[in-house]
Symmetry: C2
Subunit: 84 residues, 2 copies
């Protein structure tokens, strides 16, 4: 398992409720791809959303997002993490 | 105070030690701008790094990164967050 951050655009003006619904749609497909979505952040001004997840592969993340209806090609495997 | 994610590129092949040093350089300038850097993630294959921080403004984040020697224009105010 590895960790990934992916980036989505096009969410200008989206609300917390909409982000919550998108996250719920992702959680609904987690099992099919072995992906565990942890967090989602949204900048409603630029319409940019970020997801943090754990998954068996980059391809699994791509497929899970596609199944959830919010495909993105911007998936980064963050193999290194530093916390304060 | 608000939360921000910023994106940096150009770290292809960087190591955990290098990410740790970059993070330390950021922590050293936190006080001057009121920025609190929480986490940094790195995808060494694409050379993409992400920072999560709390700050009084987007401009403060921009200035803190500039002072730390790793400027970026890609700073997103993530006013909405959802966790699983």
């Amino acid at each position: 398992m590895a960790r990934y951050i992916d980036i989505h655009c096009g969410f200008v003006g989206a609300t917390e409720q909409q982000l919550r619904e998108a996250h719920r749609d992702r959680l609904a497909v987690e099992g099919t791809e072995g992906v565990r979505f942890e967090k989602a952040w949204l900048d409603p001004e630029s319409g940019t959303a970020f997801c943090l997840c754990t998954a068996p592969s980059r391809e699994a993340v791509l497929r899970a997002h596609e199944r959830a209806g919010d495909p993105t090609a911007e998936v980064y495997e963050i193999s290194i993490e530093v916390a304060s």
